[in-house]
Amino acid sequence: MNQTKSHLILLLSAGILLLVVFLLYLKTGYFNTTWEHIFQALTNPRDEVSSTVVWSFRLPRILMAFLAGAALSVAGMLMQNLFQNTLAGPDVLGITSGSSLLVALWMMTGITALGSTTDLIFLGIIGAMGMGAIMLLFALKLRSAVHLLLIGLMLSSFIGAIIAIIQASSATQELQQYIFWNFGSLQRVTIQQIPWIAIITSLGVILSLFQVRALNAMVLGEDIAKSLGVSIRQLRIMSILIAGILTGTITAFAGPIAFVGLAIPNVTKLLMKTQNHRVLLISNILFGALFLGVCDFSIKLLESYVAIPLNALTALLGVPFVSWMILKNRHVTG
């Protein structure tokens, strides 16, 4: 089939580009490394500066970029399907801010329950899922996409206000830690944490794979999907659960990263020209990873001239794209 072929070509190109970005990323930085150094560090790490640079700094950061891009894009795809709205995404629907609130509480008030890493993941996920559930309740009442987005925006500012109060009454050091987290940064993730994040992301992807049949039918709207034998209730619960797990985990470690979850699923749909969610799922993983990888690589290249927070860069790129998308689709309702 013709379409299958073009899908394969696009996915293969994305895969190759991912590899290129990965290798260039490992090579680039203040400390000069040769390809030989990198090859050796990857295959047979020794007690050398080059190995340390690769394993402690470069490798975790680029892997986190890939994981975050993939996870947020898949979460965005699920949200857009669930809310039947191409402008939905974990950040605009306030899901990311749910994670932010709990992470802010944890960072700045010093309340800890479990170990620090476990705490962070749990809080991120619970915050995201809680907000997801609240938005779903609104979505059941509000049919208009615009109203729903406004609610998401307002809940985000509401949570922002609470976070501001926490910020105002916290110590300088904790405040600084939170501000840097809020910039969105991939640097703080250690190579030991990467496998955990990878496992949770894979879990989200595998769970999504089991929703493909329902996701495809949902494209025709709830009423028709139901008549095709899809359990809407189950799909809703699973979508909120998976998007919460993915967004929560990534946000906990890398801070709130804006627009990736909104823009990439739309770019993917435009490129792949399909509504088959099996194809869209795989494509979102690759394109999302590639996009955030390239973003972070650019940040690294510009580091010596200007420090750009990741969250700022994704917004600088995301806002024009989403504005263009809205302008282009202004005659389309929904």
Partner: protein, 233 residues
């Protein structure tokens, strides 16, 4: 056989009722009534999307509530009034969605499903639309591919909610002709709600009338428009 007995329908309080309504594979029945009389509510109730207030709806003797959503989807296909099309969704993929109740959880269509979808498109005379985007179709084309999706769903019953609402006279007549053909040749039990009294009379369709007193009754095909109108007021 799809049968409703001692039926009371509505969301919280009864807006209409029926003693006995029967739809058999091979029947083409028109559901006629004024706006707000309860046509859509009846269709919703009969396809199990709204619970009955009292009474029962059975398919092959088994009450709707006892069917799982997936197995019910192999009995009744449903077309709503207006399908606006979905961006980036091609016609063949759209028709293939009719196979949803038969697919595994991963949603991969087999060659047999694709062939069924193609056959359904051919059956409604829309095979030339196969690779078009659903968002680029005309209203008439959308009804045809919608019908193809319902055929691909391979159900003994098809419900259509005002399928002619957005069509011009030519396409209305064409759709009625096609529905009549499908009912006879494919043994489909088709129930459609409509305001097209002239076509209903012209095609001599048996009727389910929803008059203002809210008591739904089955009628033989009517001869004159005046007689039909009189029953609705």
């Amino acid at each position: 056989m799809l049968q409703a007995k001692q039926l009371h329908i509505g969301y919280t309080q009864s807006i209409a009722s029926a003693e006995l309504l029967t739809l058999n594979p091979g029947d083409l029945v028109a559901l006629v009534g004024r706006n707000g009389s309860g046509k859509s509510t009846l269709l919703q109730t009969l396809r199990g999307s709204l619970p009955v207030l009292s009474g029962s709806v059975c398919i092959d003797g088994k009450e709707l509530v006892h069917w799982s959503p997936q197995s019910l989807a192999t009995k009744i296909a449903w077309l709503n009034a207006h399908f606006a099309g979905v961006s980036q969704l091609q016609v063949l993929d759209y028709v293939l969605l009719g196979r949803t109740p038969y697919l595994g959880i991963l949603g991969s269509a087999r060659q047999a499903d694709v062939e069924l979808a193609q056959h359904a498109l051919k059956r409604v005379g829309a095979e030339h639309l196969r690779d078009k985007l659903t968002s680029s179709l005309s209203d008439g084309e959308r009804q045809l591919v919608g019908l193809a999706r319902a055929l691909a769903q391979d159900t003994p019953y098809i419900f259509l909610d005002e399928p002619t609402a957005f069509l011009d006279f030519y396409h209305r007549k064409q759709l009625f002709t096609l529905l009549k053909e499908l009912a006879t040749s494919e043994q489909k039990g088709i129930l459609l709600s409509t305001h097209d009294l002239d076509l209903v009379i012209g095609f001599e369709l048996p009727l389910w009338l929803v008059p203002q007193d809210g008591i739904i009754r089955a009628h033989e095909p009517m001869q004159g428009r005046e007689a039909l109108e009189a029953l609705l007021i």
